[in-house]
Symmetry: C2
Subunit: 330 residues, 2 copies
């Protein structure tokens, strides 16, 4: 039986939404066992007793969003996140899901779960929506690394391409490099060098991609340095939420006519929103660790967590980590 460690205390809707999501996914995943790390009283209250697929590990501390990551990992030794990470490290669990403090989860991932031998730096990789289909694309790294070297980006591209193929079922994923122009000689030294590395690799490298093309579905995997990737991901999310917020406000606070219009156009507006629903792709994976670590947004509801649980099951089923271990230990 595969064992998934669930940090039940992270995120705004913890632990209720997390428990609800796992209980919904559980019957679909009979091969998985879910180990909940969190407040014992609350866990017992929310979870069914005598269920072979469920285990509770009582923890007494919680890492908060405002906690400094490294300090939190070192001092909150009985926090749900740190204890869960230790179970993964010790082989008592096979993967870790958390909605908590991103920096702390990256820190626990790198220092407790540990890097795969041969992987220079783990990279954080969400799956993002595209305009033209429900396929989405992966982008790596979106902020696990403030400073990046060419060889990091090559490894991230290799791991993300493997993820796109095995977990998302994309055949020969198109890999593109986020750059400031289409031509091969664009960018700073880092990106010029990465272009050559990708060109010389066995990946299906399709060249540079620019910021405005990201949501157009031109690539299945976009590789970027962690600083730019972080800024770009946040800019896309910020722009989307500002426009949607203004639209809602404009439609609901502009008199009866606009309100009626919004009501009539409801289905059409919903179909746009559902295309841009990135929850259905699961969470962001920290690729390159000894076991899968998945971060889901702190604001996630049960539906988003449900997809992250299914995503982890798929990553384990495809044995992604062992593929990486074999690849990079060469």
């Amino acid at each position: 039986m595969r064992k998934i460690a669930i940090d039940a205390m992270g995120g705004e809707n913890a632990p209720e939404a997390i428990v609800e999501a796992v209980l919904k996914a559980k019957p679909e995943l009979p091969e998985d066992k879910f180990i909940f790390f969190g407040d014992e009283g609350k866990m017992k209250e929310l979870l069914p007793a005598d269920d072979d697929q469920i285990e509770i590990v009582a923890t007494t501390e919680v890492i908060l969003d405002e906690d400094e990551p490294v300090k939190a990992m070192r001092t909150k030794k009985d926090s749900s996140m740190v204890v869960a990470a230790n179970w993964v490290k010790e082989g008592k669990a096979d993967a870790l899901l958390s909605l908590g403090n991103t920096g702390a989860l990256l820190t626990c991932g790198i220092f407790i779960v540990g890097r795969i031998k041969g992987v220079a730096r783990p990279g954080l990789m969400p799956t993002m929506p595209v305009e033209s289909s429900d396929d989405g694309f992966n982008i790596i790294d979106v902020g696990a690394n403030a400073t990046s070297k060419p060889e990091y980006l090559l490894q991230w591209a290799e791991m993300a391409s493997c993820y796109a193929e095995k977990v998302r079922g994309v055949s020969k994923p198109r890999v593109a490099l986020l750059n400031n122009g289409a031509e091969f000689d664009k960018g700073d030294d880092l990106h010029k060098e990465v272009y050559q590395l990708l060109q010389d690799s066995s990946l299906n490298f399709t060249g540079n991609i620019e910021g405005h093309e990201l949501l157009q579905g031109k690539a299945d995997v976009v590789v970027t340095d962690g600083f730019t990737g972080n800024a770009v991901l946040k800019s896309i999310e910020g722009t989307g939420s500002v426009i949607i917020h203004m639209l809602k406000d404009g439609l609901l606070n502009n008199g009866v006519k606009a309100k009626l219009g919004a009501l009539l156009a409801k289905d059409a507006l919903k179909s746009v929103a559902s295309r841009f629903d990135k929850d259905k792709y699961g969470g962001a994976v920290l690729l390159g660790l000894n076991s899968p670590v998945v971060k889901q947004h702190g604001r996630s509801d049960a539906r988003a967590v449900y997809y992250a649980v299914k995503q982890i099951d798929k990553i384990l089923t495809e044995d992604l980590t062992n593929t990486f271990k074999q690849e990079f230990s060469k």
Copy 2:
């Protein structure tokens, strides 16, 4: 009389939209003379004869969007852009407006018009919209430089702050650094160092800003390295246009009900679109040159060009370039 050099041949709607825009702005700007560089036959056909505010300089070549910038500048010596830039260099014109090839305009700006003594690198700076007001914000550099050093960013911040104050009328502009977190020690070495430089400057530095906060109106000036700025600007524009495209498509191709809804909600939707209309702020200014050079989008219509003409008049009225010259020659 101030003289504005107009590259009449650049952009998708050249020369008609450009001529239309200038003719509209002309009566409002009696102190300005507009020198059109372009095909003589077309210019004479479109422009009134015997007008003290208008002059035509015949050119025979056009730099195309697909031309390689440096090569184009060197070989197309009789192109509208190169000749216009030379007039500015020789003091026969005071500023340059173009809708043409961005790379070529940057090249002509830097190598023909020339840098202000003491400015390490010119930076490209558009004005972008914000959610909460019509004020917008400036972001610099959005791609004139693939590689950036700390001192470049400090100078860009100083010039952009001066622009925000004098041209946009913002008192004590709030200057923020685009970074991957809120805390002072975030980012790579470049951004950590810039944080300190800004902190120690006389600017109204408000700290780091993250990608998702850009459109929220938290800063009047955002300073960023040219690589990240380019990716972020394109990502914001791309996300906006993808969402708007999908909305239009969703509302118009989802049956009668959605169409009727769109009709009723038309004014509300328009008010959202007008908030995100960045044309009203003019074009992107290449700050740090001996004379103002403004780039307007190649797809711009007459309305957008009109605002760019007004913007250039304001830059000249405020004598921004001499302010920079005094500041940086110290």
